[in-house]
Each structure stands twice: as structure tokens, then as C-alpha cells.
Symmetry: none
Subunit: 246 residues, 2 copies
């Protein structure tokens, strides 16, 4: 591919940055478990798990990136070992449902509601990723687009639930955290929107080195917002709610 050495290094640095952010956030979240009452510990444990899983996958992605290219004096060549995109899907399959579970757990609904909402939202999230994957690895634009449409169905269901379906439960939250919980729900919607848009890039003819950089760096930033920033927001909510309760 027409990747320059500068572009190669920029993507490598973005992956390394992603790895460092995820690992650091994991430790911070787990060290902070003691700051919240036992009611909210599971939400924090899971927030840290999500960033831990992402950190592991950023390591794998970074190693795959390094082995896909060889840099010699002023030239960069593909080695033939393909850059493995699937790590992102494996990561998402695990972490995307858990992100929704974090949000549900920190709301501390009745047990039955917690379980049913987790199953429905988590299940939709898993289905969304599973339906997207055949499109990602497809050779033709038609197949790619078909699976995009299929994957958008659970995606829109999740957006609907976050914006409308959870409304009743959010309104019952203590007043001093309602704004933060609303913010967390909208952070999910906005940061997740990035993924289906990027998925369409190859269809509108974006290819080559600059497109690779845009996609990989873009995903990395979106992941940091959707997992690390979101996790810290969940922690902030949990700390405030714990203070209310003691």
C-alpha cells in the first residue's frame, strides 16, 4: 500500500497510546473500587474489565501492525503478513455488551429489571457486532452494504433504548446524578455513531495510506472515548451515588 513511513509511525503511536490509556484506566478504576459502596462495585469492576480487554487487544493490534510492515532505510514495504482487523471485532464482541451493562448496573434498578435490560441491550449489542463482521471481511461492496444495513437494526434499537427506553429509569435517579447519567447515555450514542460511519468509508472510495490512518486513528480515539472516558464517568456517578447513600 501507499503508506509512508511517517503514516506508519503515526498509526503505531496511536495504537501504543491506546494501549497505555486502556491499561492506566483499568488500574485507576480498580484502585478506586474502595471509594464506592458495595452496591456499585460490580459496575466499577466491569468498567475496568472493559478497558483491560481493550488494552490486551490494542497490544495484539499493535503487534499485528508491526509485523505487517518492514521499514528499512527510507522505504516501507508490506511483509505479506496481513494486518489483522478481526481483533477489533473480537474486542467489540466482548466489550460492547459490557459497556451497556456498566450503565445499567450503575443505575441500580430493581434486580429483575437489571437482568432483563442487560440481556436485551447486551444481546442486541452482540448481534450488531456479529452481523457487521461478514460485511467487514466481504470482497464486494454489495455484501458490505447488506451487512451494514442488517447491523444497523440492533444499533438503532440500542440508540432508541438509550434515548427513549431508559428515560423512565433515568428520571427516577437521584437528582444530583441525573445529569451525569444522561451524559453517559448520550456519550454512548455519540461515540458509537462513529463506527458505522467509518465502516462505510471503503464504499465511498476512501482508500490508500491517508484512509488507513484516518480509520485506525479514528477508531482509537472513538474507543478511548467509548471505553475509558465512559468508564471514568461511570466511576464519577458511582462515587456520587455512594455519597448520597452514606
Amino acid at each position: 500500500e501507499s503508506l509512508t513511513i511517517g503514516q506508519y509511525e503515526f498509526v503505531q503511536n496511536a495504537f501504543s497510546f491506546g494501549l497505555a490509556v486502556m491499561a492506566a484506566t483499568t488500574l485507576f478504576l480498580w484502585f478506586s473500587r474502595g471509594l464506592v459502596t458495595p452496591n456499585y462495585r460490580m459496575a466499577i469492576t466491569i468498567s475496568g474489565l472493559v478497558t483491560a480487554i481493550a488494552g490486551y487487544h490494542y497490544l495484539q493490534i499493535m503487534l499485528s501492525w508491526q509485523s505487517a510492515f518492514s521499514v528499512t532505510v527510507d522505504t516501507i514495504e508490506t511483509t505479506g503478513s496481513p494486518f489483522n482487523q478481526a481483533y477489533r471485532y473480537v474486542d467489540w464482541l466482548l466489550t460492547v455488551p459490557l459497556l451497556l451493562v456498566e450503565l445499567i448496573l450503575v443505575m441500580k434498578l430493581a434486580r429483575g429489571e437489571t437482568i432483563s435490560k442487560s440481556v436485551w441491550l447486551g444481546g442486541a449489542a452482540a448481534l450488531m457486532i456479529i452481523l457487521g463482521y461478514p460485511g467487514e471481511v466481504a470482497d464486494t461492496a454489495g455484501v458490505r452494504f447488506t451487512f451494514w444495513v442488517l447491523s444497523m437494526i440492533p444499533f438503532l434499537y440500542i440508540v432508541y433504548q438509550l434515548v427513549i427506553g431508559l428515560r423512565g429509569s433515568i428520571d427516577k435517579q437521584p437528582e444530583n446524578v441525573r445529569g451525569l447519567i444522561n451524559g453517559a447515555a448520550y456519550l454512548v450514542v455519540v461515540s458509537w455513531l462513529f463506527y458505522p460511519i467509518v465502516f462505510l468509508f471503503p464504499l465511498i472510495g476512501l482508500t490508500g495510506g491517508a484512509a488507513i490512518v484516518a480509520v485506525e486513528v479514528g477508531y482509537t480515539i472513538a474507543d478511548i472515548v467509548a471505553k475509558a472516558v465512559f468508564g471514568l464517568l461511570i466511576l464519577a456517578i458511582a462515587i456520587r451515588k455512594s455519597e448520597n447513600e452514606t
Copy 2:
């Protein structure tokens, strides 16, 4: 480059030393969390995170250094794989804001003040690093100097805040830690001054093997002071304040 084998090894040893110091400090700080009251635990957690993140980046820097040169009997050659300077910037982007947050947290101000000071000082620190980066990778002296000037604006803002802006809050600290907190603020100012000076070296014609050694070893020493020594000072402050409060 005109690097001798001795110089190559000296820099390698400095990186390895940096890695060991950062890792050891991280463990020491985290093991010591139990010595302070919960009020100060977050400051210690973050101090350890900063050294952990730095340790990770020293590992990456060291590996990049090793792969940039090949040493055979009595000769040293560049392999073509470039020595990746950007790891330092990635590291700084994460750790420099956190260093200021450590200082603010250990002062234990009112919550609103803690948040606003963290956002302003942390934001200025991130901006400073982001503005420095295009200068670091620039090809011409003019561009390098321009971004140095831009980056100096948030730098001077931070220095002003540490020396003048925090004065009121420092004066309200318990008497037996006031000296230490003052010391920590000045340690930041003095150790951070090193970086913009080194950045100018290439502009005043310092190049070649000796300059590389000076820059890399110099940065390593400055990092150890700014992160590890500073982190231990924060721990000392937190321990004293905890004693006051029990």
C-alpha cells in the same frame, strides 16, 4: 549517525535505568497506599500510574533504540528503522497533566476548586505537549521555533499558576506540610524548565553522537526527577497530612 558503540550503550543503559526506576517507584507508591487516609489515596494511585505509564514508555523507547542500530564486531550501523521519538510525546501527553493533578489532589481543596484547577492546569499541560509535537518532527528551524513559541504560552501559564496562582491555597495548608508542598511546586517548575531548553538544542547547532547522548540521557534524568522524585514527595506530603488528621 556518528554514534560510537560506547555512546550507543550508554544511552541503552540510561533507558534501562529509567525503566527500572519507574517500575520500582510504581510498586513502592502503590504498596504505600495503605499508609495514607482515604482522602489521599487517589493522589497516590495517580502518582503510581504516572510512573507506570512512564515505565511502559521507557520499555518502548528502549526497544525502538535497539532496533534502530545494529552492532557487529567494532561497527555500529543504523538499521533504517527510525528511532521513534514520538513515544516521549505520547508519554508526556498522558503523564504531564496527571502530574499537576497529583499536586492538586494532595492539597485537598474544595471539590469544585479541585475540578476547575485540574481542568485548567491539566488542559494547559496537554495543549503544551500537543503544540510542541509539530515542532519536534518539523524539518525546518523556522517551524521548530514557531511551535516552541506557541508551546511556551501554556508552559508559562502553568509556571505562573504554580508560583503565584496556587499561593493562596498553599498558604491555607497545615503548617507542617507547607514547606513540602512549596518544594513540590518548585520541583515542577525547575525540572520542567529542562524540556523547552533541550528542545532548542538542534537550533543552536548541537548535532551528532554527543548531542544525541546529551538529549536522551538528559531527558531520562529530568523524567526521573519530574515523575519518580516528585511522586515520592507527594507520598511524603500525604503521609504527613494523614498523621495530622488522625
